[in-house]
C-alpha cells in the first residue's frame, strides 16, 4: 500500500485536473495558472539542484529556459504544422501527439548542452564568478535570439498553438495538462533519484567542503558539470512546456526578471529542499496572479518579498528539510523514491 500511495494520488490528481478541463468546469485562465504552476515547479526544483544542493550561485536560469523554449518550438512547428517560416510540415501532423515529448526532450538536450558550454569555463574559477558568468550567458542567449531574424528576432516566434490543434486532431483531450504533469513528475523523479544516490550525495559534499570531497575521491569537476547539465536540461524542458502553453515565445520573456523569479522560488522554498521548491512554486505562481492588478508595482512587491524572506526566515519555508522530515507521521503513508 505504501508503495502505491504516491503514484495513485498523482494519477487521481492528473485525472481530476484533466476531467475538470475536459468538462470545462475550470476555464482557460485557471487552466493556464495550473499549467504555470507545473512549469514553475520544474523551474524551481531544477535551479535548486545547483543553487541549493551544490551551493553554487547560478543567476541565469532563464537563459536555459529560453534555449529549450525556442528549440522545441522551432522543432514542433517545423515538424507538425504548416508555417511561413518552414513551409509544409515535415511529418504528418497526426504524429504530433507522439512526437511532442520527443521534441520537448530535444529542447532539454539543447539546453543541457548550452549548460555544458557555460559550465566548462565557469567551474574553473570559484565562488561568485558563476553568478557573473550565468548572468552574462543569459544576456548572450537572449541577444543571439533577438539577432536571428529567421526565427522572429525581437518580435518573437509563434505557431505553437497549431501544434496543440494538431494533437487535438488525434484525441480531444487537454493535452498540455497531461504533458506538463508528466514532465513535472518526471523531473522530480530525476532530481530525487539523483540526489538520493551515492553519486548525488557527492553534490552535497561539494557544497559543504569541496576540498575534502576532491581528496575523498569525488571527481568534483565532472560532478559539477553533470549537475549543471541536469539542471539546465530540465530548465529547457520547462521552457518547451512554457512555449507551448502560451503559444508564442518572445526573447523578452526570458530576461533576468525570469531568472530572478526562479531564484525567488528557490529561496522562498528553502535551499536544497525539493518539497520546499514545489510548495514555493505553487505559492509564487498564485501570488503573481493575485498581484497582477498591481501591474508594474508587482515588481516592487515581489523583490520586497525576497528581502522580507531573507530578513525573517533566511532558510526559506522548508529550510533544507523535506515534508517527511517535518511531519514524520506522513512517512507511514507513502514511500517515494
Amino acid at each position: 500500500m505504501k508503495r502505491f500511495s504516491v503514484p495513485l494520488l498523482l494519477i487521481i490528481l492528473l485525472l481530476t485536473l484533466m476531467g475538470l478541463a475536459w468538462f470545462e468546469i475550470i476555464d482557460i485562465y485557471i487552466q493556464t495558472i495550473i499549467l504555470f504552476m507545473g512549469i514553475n515547479i520544474i523551474t524551481s526544483t531544477s535551479l535548486n539542484l545547483v543553487n541549493g544542493n551544490m551551493g553554487e550561485f547560478s543567476c541565469g536560469h532563464a537563459g536555459f529556459i529560453a534555449v529549450g523554449a525556442y528549440v522545441s518550438s522551432l522543432l514542433s512547428v517545423a515538424l507538425f504544422t504548416k508555417s511561413k517560416t518552414f513551409g509544409a510540415p515535415l511529418l504528418p501532423p497526426e504524429l504530433a501527439a507522439y512526437g511532442f515529448p520527443l521534441v520537448l526532450i530535444a529542447g532539454g538536450l539543447a539546453a543541457a548542452l548550452t549548460g555544458l558550454l557555460v559550465a566548462l569555463p565557469s567551474f574553473r574559477t570559484r565562488d561568485d564568478y558563476l553568478a557573473i558568468i550565468t548572468i552574462a550567458a543569459n544576456y548572450i542567449i537572449i541577444s543571439t535570439i533577438i539577432n536571428i531574424d529567421q526565427i522572429g528576432g525581437a518580435r518573437g516566434f509563434m505557431g505553437m498553438k497549431r501544434v496543440i490543434f494538431a494533437m487535438e486532431q488525434c484525441a480531444e483531450i487537454p493535452w498540455m495538462i497531461l504533458w506538463v504533469f508528466l514532465f513535472m513528475v518526471l523531473s522530480i523523479i530525476i532530481i530525487r533519484r539523483y540526489m538520493s544516490s551515492t553519486y548525488g550525495k557527492g553534490v552535497e559534499a561539494i557544497r559543504q567542503d569541496e576540498v575534502a570531497a576532491e581528496i575523498m575521491s569525488v571527481n568534483t569537476n565532472r560532478i559539477k558539470l553533470v549537475t549543471f547539465m541536469i539542471s539546465s536540461g530540465l530548465a529547457g524542458i520547462a521552457g518547451g512546456l512554457y512555449a507551448h502553453t502560451v503559444g508564442y515565445v518572445n526573447p523578452k520573456s526570458f530576461d533576468l526578471l525570469k531568472s530572478t523569479e526562479a531564484l525567488v522560488m528557490v529561496y522562498l522554498g528553502g535551499m536544497g529542499s525539493i518539497s520546499g521548491s514545489i510548495i514555493a512554486a505553487i505559492v509564487f505562481t498564485l501570488l503573481l496572479e493575485l498581484l497582477r492588478p498591481l501591474q508594474i508595482i508587482k515588481w516592487v512587491a515581489i523583490p520586497l518579498l525576497l528581502i522580507i524572506i531573507m530578513q525573517f526566515r533566511p532558510e526559506g519555508i522548508m529550510g533544507n528539510r523535506e515534508l517527511g522530515d517535518i511531519f514524520p507521521r506522513l512517512k507511514k503513508f507513502y514511500k517515494f523514491k
Binding site: 533519484r193 544516490s197 551515492t198 550525495k201 559534499a205 567542503d209 576532491e214 575523498m216 571527481n219 523514491k337
Partner: protein, 255 residues
C-alpha cells in the same frame, strides 16, 4: 617493498621554498612519523602526496607509479587516503553519508543506471551501504550512523574522519595531526585506535604529529624536516638523541 617513494621533491610557492629536495621512502606495512617545527613544510608534503599540489621539481611514486599530473580524486582512487589537521567532515551530512561519499572512486554504475534504477545500480548501492555499515560496526560507531558529525564530541569526529579515510580501502593512510585538539585521555584512546587500525588493516600509515607521546609510542621510524629539508630519519630513540633535531626544536646553544 617500497610503497611510496619521494625523490628530490621540491615545492616552491612563488619563490618561497616550502619543500626542498626531499628524499624519503615509505615501505609496505610501516608506521612512519613526520615531525618538524611549525612551518617546516609537513602539511605541504602531505598535500603533495595526496595530489593537492603538483610538485615544482622531483617526483612522488606510489607503488612505482608517478603521481605527477593526477588530480586528488585519482590519487585517492589509487589508494592514498588522508585526514586533515582541522577536521574536514561534511558537517551537514550524516556520518553514514560521509562514509558513503568516500566510495566515489568505485561506484560501478553510470548515470543511466542511476536514473533507470537498473539491477546493477541497486546491487552496487546496497553493497556500498553494506560496506559502510560494516565499517561503522567494526569501529563501534554504528550507533551514531544517522547523527550529523557536527553534533558529535571532538574525539568522536576524529574517529569518524579516520573511518571515512579507511572506507576507500587505502594502501597508505596519511594522518595530519590526528591528536590536535584532543584531551590527554582522548590521546591515549587515539594511540590505541591507530595501533589497532595498523594491526587490522593491510596498510601503511604516515602521520604528522606534534605530540611526542603519540609519535614515540607508535612509529617505528620517524622523519624530521625543518625548512623543507630532511634533517634526520631513524628510530624514535635515534631521533631523540640526534643533535640536528634538538637544534631544530630547541635552537643552538652557541648563540
Amino acid at each position: 617493498m617500497t610503497l611510496l617513494e619521494i625523490k628530490d621533491l621540491t615545492q616552491l610557492f612563488s619563490g618561497l621554498c616550502a619543500v626542498s629536495e626531499l628524499n624519503l621512502n615509505i615501505e609496505e606495512r610501516e608506521l612512519v612519523g613526520l615531525i618538524g617545527p611549525n612551518g617546516a613544510g609537513k602539511t605541504t608534503v602531505f598535500n603533495l602526496a595526496s595530489g593537492f599540489y603538483q610538485p615544482t621539481y622531483g617526483a612522488i611514486l606510489f607503488q612505482g607509479r608517478n603521481l605527477a599530473g593526477l588530480k586528488p580524486h585519482q590519487v585517492s582512487a589509487l589508494g592514498i587516503a588522508r585526514t586533515f589537521q582541522n577536521i574536514r567532515l561534511w558537517k551537514e551530512m550524516s556520518v553514514l553519508d560521509n562514509i558513503l561519499v568516500a566510495q566515489h572512486f568505485n561506484l560501478g554504475y553510470g548515470l543511466g543506471g542511476l536514473f533507470f534504477r537498473t539491477p546493477r545500480y541497486l546491487k552496487r548501492e546496497s553493497e556500498i551501504r553494506h560496506k559502510a555499515h560494516e565499517l561503522l560496526e567494526i569501529f563501534k560507531i554504528d550507533n551514531v550512523a544517522e547523527e550529523k558529525p557536527g553534533n558529535l564530541p571532538y574525539g568522536m569526529q576524529r574517529k569518524v574522519e579516520i573511518v571515512r579515510a579507511l572506507s576507500s580501502g587505502p594502501r597508505l593512510l596519511l594522518l595530519d595531526e590526528p591528536a590536535a585538539g584532543l584531551q590527554s585521555a582522548d590521546v591515549t584512546e587515539l594511540i590505541a585506535l591507530i595501533q589497532w587500525v595498523f594491526d587490522q588493516f593491510d596498510l601503511s600509515i604516515w602521520m604528522i604529529e606534534h605530540q611526542m607521546k603519540v609519535v614515540m609510542s607508535l612509529c617505528s621510524r620517524i622523519a624530521v624536516i625543518d625548512f623543507g629539508k630532511l634533517i634526520a630519519s631513524g628510530t624514535p630513540t635515534e631521533i631523540q638523541q640526534n643533535p640536528a633535531v634538538i637544534k631544530a626544536y630547541l635552537g643552538d646553544d652557541q648563540l
